[in-house]
Amino acid sequence: MSDQRTGTGAGDGTAPGPAASTAGGHEELDALWDDPPGLWGRLRAVQNDKVGTRLVLTGFFFLLLGGTVDSFVMRLQLARPEQDIVSPQLYNEMFTNHGSVTMFLVILPIFEGFAILLLPTMLGSREMPFPRLGAFSYWTFLFGGLLYYSATLFQLVPDAGWFAYTPLSLNEFSPDLALDFWVLGLGVAEVGAIAAAVEIIIGILKMRAPGMTLTRMPLYAWAMLVTAFMILFAFTPLIVGSLLLELERGFHMPFFDPDRGGSSLLWQHLFWIFGHPEVYIQFLPATGVVSMVLPVMVRRRIAGYTWMVAALVAIGFLSFGLWAHHMFTVGLPGVVLAFFAAASMVIAIPAGVQIFSWLATIWNGRVRWNTAFLFVVGFLVIFVAGGITGVMVAAVPFDQQAHDSYFVVAHLHYVLIGGVAFPMFAGVHYWFPKFTGRLMDERLGRLSFWLLFLGVNVTFFPMHIVGLLGMPRRVYTYPEEYGWGVYNLISSLGLLLIIPGLGLFVLNLAWSLRRGEEAGNDPWGADTLEWATTSPPAQHGWTVPPIVHSRHPLWDQDDLHRGEPQVERLVHALAEWPLRWRAALVIGTGDARPVEIFRVSGPSIWPLATALGVVGIFASELLKLRWGIVASAVVVVVCALAWNRPDPPPMTRDEELDFERTHGVPVRAYGSLVVPRWGMGLAILFASIFFGSLLLGYFYLRLENPVWPPEGVVEPSLLVAGISTLLVVAGAGSVYGGLRAIREDDTGGLLRGLLAGTAAAAVGGAILVVDLLGLDFGSTDHSYGAIFHTLASASLVVVLFACIMACSTAVYAAKGHYHAYRLSPVDNVSRFWIAAAVLWVLSIGTLYLSPYLT
């Protein structure tokens, strides 16, 4: 049987795959990993299926709200020339809302949620590494979306376009609160996006089945890994940009106002450093989905796996060198235009590698023409068309003609609908049976595919032509004599195909959920691990985690639990006593050998409470309740501390050691050593990107102002900078000393290190605060003062966080929580302190030294 399945791929879905063992304690484990029942239980839910499904459904809800209703009214308005169904103001609000919702509240949560839902089963692990962080990510995303949408209730809908260019988005031209809803509502959602990205990175790198080395990972996992890193690198500059925009709108700090030394281009840079990678952040998960669906539907291994991995990584990097191609008409130096044009064209190479790899796979395979595959083909056709217009607009002279015309609108909808929406539909048809146990209806599916495929082309193809004829985007109407009427009418008629297509898709979902054909474990004869589990999978996913020897375990392996004797014993032990708690396996990143077993955190109300605190910060700023910001920040800190309160370990130290002697892998029932270390590493990476973006902002403003600091401002005091920096660095050294002490089981030394470090850093911070208060320039007079105060305050906040962490660690240390074998929190706090000191040196050094040096 195994011979038959190797080589050209699996059978037609009839051949039974290798069985996944559910022996021993299946029900018990299922109950152990389930979320508690009732409303209170739902609010505390952290389980990956629940969190993932919620994210996907909420994203889909926002799609129906912002993706379809707005576009229907806009197309109605544009169907004929010189109509006035909607006013220009309402039209502005609609295109702003359409862009903002689809870019921030739809595609990203759907893909992040889907990854959280799917990855553990697909990778052969039981959970994501930080279930509570996943729940937090969902709540922040939901509240952010609702905060943004609540603008509608107050008739304060943002109207400055989805990229909110300054000065249009500043107080002078947008005096009411509409833009604050945009900045703050989406800001909350951005926090959620970053939290989910951290979860996804660590889930992929550290929590896979034993034996699933990096090059045995499904391409979907590679795609999500690259995507999650991109989210971290792209969303952080956006958060910085949003922060500066809100500081200018709410506190009159002039970052973007040229009259006071600011630069309106700084906003465009910060926005597009996020904005262009964002397109690929949406596209890469879609390519991951296609790379899973397509090989199964053509019953053939993907052609060029390594080429695909290289293409995913290449797109991840190259996408960060394209942002200024949105700014070809703002007057950048010629050579800079050339840099960005070249990078924009080179990225077509890895994208092309992917396309040819899929085509080669289809060429070699035997196609099953079902709905999922039809959507894949639709994706290939529409996306290639959008990709080619993308290379066209990468050419500077062409772009300067097509810029801000309907040609660009046609291009981006071909890319996003073809490249992202169609793979989503394919993915839903493909994985629906896994998570519901029922197949989606084929006839409804095909009908909805053809309606959507024809509808999308009828709607968006004429936009290329009308764009080349000169129709600008974002106009609410146009005169008849321009001759644009017929193209716009065709575009609008296309919507009459898209809307029933979407309707049929929703109907199909609802119908199939109740009446669909029973799917069984593996209806497609697929190759990846999730198809070996029951449909829907158990709460804990895997009773006995699988052992992987191939990229296509279900095609190549006869038994999913066969392996080296020791590993085999270990995975079976995971189903039995003494591990009857939420035990999950951590593996080595490269070699995929088990490195530890740790307890995954359980249901908790604190993620929801913390998310409420976060949204409280943003909502208070919206209402200009400045005390509310401080109060909400306190809520966040208190809730985060409660969230991380250690539970009593379910095993004694002797039991842990006993297990370790038998199986050769340490058990950390009190909490992992490896996973939080990665979490802290990514948190430090986030902080570094945050400060990197602020520092780039500083130097950008410095370049824009030939006189720096401005006339009449005295250079800052080097003595203050030197003393406070010395104290903060000494504090970090002292905390590190505490870590060294606890490695020798010296709790007293740990306490001394933590408290002395906190005291030193607090004095250093206080000196800086006193200096800031006594400066002879304010934060509102000139961009110099604005960025000076912002960067200094950011450094103070990081040191404040470090002090809070040290104090909470000291409390637990005094209670005797830490030992030489139990010091993970101390280890991480010490790392954060060192990072905080480095960031302090860089930012305070820049602020106080650069006026002397330049």
Binding site: T306, A310, P666
Partner: protein, 130 residues
């Protein structure tokens, strides 16, 4: 139970990962990291040099100097990327299938990065920089 007990392994001292993992990542990512590094260097330099030319009466960098610096750094970056690609190529000769596949992906990424570095930097020869 203390850390000095021979039965108790020194958990805190354990390296989090197999050291060869780091080598795998370096082989894979060296090319694109050099690309983004080069890109940011030439972009920030050109932006700063051109801004300085606008505001200063006596420009610090002449047009020729900007082109020379951009092209020189492009050649240096392309050369370094070529070295990294060769190292990844050597990595493909390892016996482990995993290292081979990652090394091969590294070779592909290195080759693409060389093309991308040259494509980004060399047009400076034909364009008025500011």
């Amino acid at each position: 139970m203390s850390a000095t007990d021979p039965a108790s392994p020194r958990i805190a001292e354990e390296p989090p990962d197999n050291p060869s993992t780091i080598r795998l990542w370096v082989l894979l990512l060296a090319g694109p990291v050099l690309w983004i590094g080069h890109f940011m260097v030439v972009y920030l330099f050109a932006e700063a040099a051109c801004a300085a030319r606008e505001s200063d009466d006596i420009p610090f960098f002449g047009t020729g100097a900007i082109v020379t610096i951009v092209v020189a750094s492009t050649l240096v970056a392309a050369g370094l990327t070529a070295l990294a690609t060769v190292a990844a190529w050597r990595g493909t000769r390892g016996r482990e299938a995993d290292a081979t596949a990652m090394g091969w992906a590294g070779v592909l990424l290195g080759a693409l990065s060389i093309v991308a570095i040259l494509a980004v930097g060399l047009p400076a020869l034909a364009i008025d920089p500011c």
